[in-house]
């Protein structure tokens, strides 16, 4: 049996695939190594919801037979990965991270799991998450069936939510990549806090069939990985039309960053205040340096402003109304009281009281938001902002507290609301690790027009060719 060196757990997908094809190790050996690592370290970060060692070994055995017969299925063949525990896997528990659903088992697979099986990826485990993906609004990181998501860079810090497990597991090298979800920030935040590359795809590009619904008009699934290139390869495998998802855009995706426009022809819109004032002081040097790297690529950075809308109120109203319908029986039955977070329980109950007129108004304003972003993207090609203004928060810090004091708050809002704004408009976002504040990672988010993933990935690939932040490893792993 081949020894699996520690660097393998942090290798990018093309390298892992090449080493499998060259028979440096077999898919079964690789699966065993990741199974062992996931079992050994998953609990250390509260990142593991359900190990799937037998399933992984069965899939890996099939991959070895395929490789032996030269039935090659692409770069993900034989690569161990994990999924957020809101994706159903037939016959296995799917808890949605919440006690009321601890015994839940579906008899079908999520479409993304079937698609990844089709290209030979090896499912090693289900990964932890904030309960109900944060529906209702949680106050503490401990709002999860598996406990608070602990950050591999510093276990006294939060891994971010709601895709806590996917971000932490990739950062700690417990899986080669992971699938998470975002309704408003659940990919961008944990990827930023854990220092991994991640992609929130355009709404409708990836089927959500078999995923827990939180908001039918906002939910997206996307990859956490080691690089922009890895995200492109994964997206190519999981994107595509699906008649079982009413929100499906019916589009495929082919990872072809080489055909994106030359970077020197691009204009990036950004708000300097995000980096100079809204960013936490310890984060500013790294953000400044990252902006410098982008300028070196020839990209022009130009000042821009987000269209002025009450994004938070619009998103909260749409989310509240849709989650109220989705979780009506949970709330009405009283089982909502089993959730871990008091704010979330109250938020779900109160969401039943959103007036129909408010939901409709929010959806009408949303149309205006989409139109305004279309106009903005005639002036700039992409938008740039910090993934988060600072590093991961302390594990026990209330999430509805903190931020700058009124005296310190700049008058210019910058792109502070780009997460709800981007989600309301269905825009894709790429998260790129860009440095550190102390020992904790920071990230940029690059946001584009719908279905501009290849452009975002081309920018990311160039940024990562000039930096090594995405290759850094947490201490002790």
């Amino acid at each position: 049996m081949a020894d699996i060196a520690n660097d393998v757990f942090f290798a990018a997908i093309p390298e892992l695939n090449a080493r499998l094809k060259s028979k440096e190790f077999s898919a079964q050996e690789l699966a065993r190594a990741f199974n062992s690592r996931l079992a050994q370290l998953g609990g250390r970060y509260n990142a593991l919801a359900l190990p799937l060692p037998q399933q992984a070994l069965r899939q890996a055995r099939d991959v070895d037979q395929d490789i032996k017969r030269e039935r090659l299925r692409g770069p993900l063949q034989g690569i161990p990965y994990g999924v957020k525990d809101l994706l159903s896997l037939a016959g296995q528990p799917t808890t949605w991270g919440a006690k009321p659903y601890a015994g839940q088992v579906f008899n079908y697979n999520a479409t993304v799991i079937d698609k990844l099986a089709g290209v030979g990826a090896v499912l090693a485990g289900k990964l932890s998450m904030v309960e109900l993906a944060g529906g209702g609004g949680y106050r503490y990181a401990s709002a999860s069936l598996t406990g608070p998501g602990l950050n591999p860079w510093d276990r006294t810090r939060w891994s971010g939510g709601s895709s806590s497990g996917p971000a932490a597991a990739v950062a700690a090298g417990l899986v080669a990549f992971a699938i998470g979800s975002e309704t408003s920030g659940s990919i961008v935040t944990p990827a930023s806090y854990c220092g991994v590359t991640a992609l929130r795809p355009t709404y409708g590009l990836v089927s959500r069939y078999g995923a827990m619904a939180l908001s039918w008009t906002l939910d997206k699934l996307g990859p956490f990985a080691r690089s922009a290139e890895d995200c492109g390869l994964i997206l190519q495998a999981i994107a595509g039309g699906d008649s079982k998802d009413p929100g499906s855009a019916g589009k495929s995706f082919y990872y072809t960053p080489q055909y994106a426009r030359p970077l020197k022809d691009l204009k990036i819109g950004y708000a300097p205040v995000d980096f100079s004032q809204w960013a936490e002081p310890t984060a500013r040097p790294a953000f400044d340096a990252a902006l410098g790297v982008l300028r070196q690529t020839g990209i022009r950075l130009v000042e821009a402003k987000l269209p002025p809308f009450p994004y938070g109120a619009v998103l909260s109203t749409i989310l509240a109304a849709e989650q109220a319908s989705i979780f009506e029986s949970l709330i009405a039955s009283g089982k909502v009281e089993e959730l871990a977070d008091a704010a979330q329980i109250a938020g779900l109950k109160a969401s039943l009281e959103v007036p129909a007129k408010d939901y409709l108004k929010a959806m009408r304003v949303r149309r205006l938001i989409q139109e305004a972003f279309s106009r903005l993207f005639t002036e700039v090609d992409v938008l740039l902002a910090p993934g988060r203004p600072g590093p991961a928060t302390a594990i026990d810090q209330p999430l509805d507290r903190g931020g700058p004091t009124a005296a310190a708050a700049p008058a210019d809002p910058g792109f502070r609301t780009i997460i709800p704004a981007g989600n309301l408009a269905g825009l894709p976002a790429l998260v790129l690790p860009c440095g550190f504040a102390g020992d904790l990672p920071l990230a940029l988010q690059v946001v584009g027009v719908p279905f501009s993933e290849n452009l975002l990935l081309a920018i990311g690939k160039e940024f990562q060719a000039r930096t090594d932040w995405h290759k850094r490893r947490p201490p002790g792993v």
């Binding site: 009450p310 109160a350 959806m363």
Partner: protein, 64 residues
Amino acid sequence: MKLTRRQLAMALTSAAALAQTTSGPPATPEDELKAARDRVKANGAALDKQDVPMAVEPAFQFKA
């Protein structure tokens, strides 16, 4: 220092945000529910201020 109305509004908004960030979490489930209901109402009030032409229909068939 003379403030424009926009700057004043921003300052007041920031002050409100500060008030939220410095007070402790609600003490009882009833207080928590009241706070959540207040947020629903505040969101509705923010939406009420948005002027939307009649021809703008809700994004029911949401496509990015």
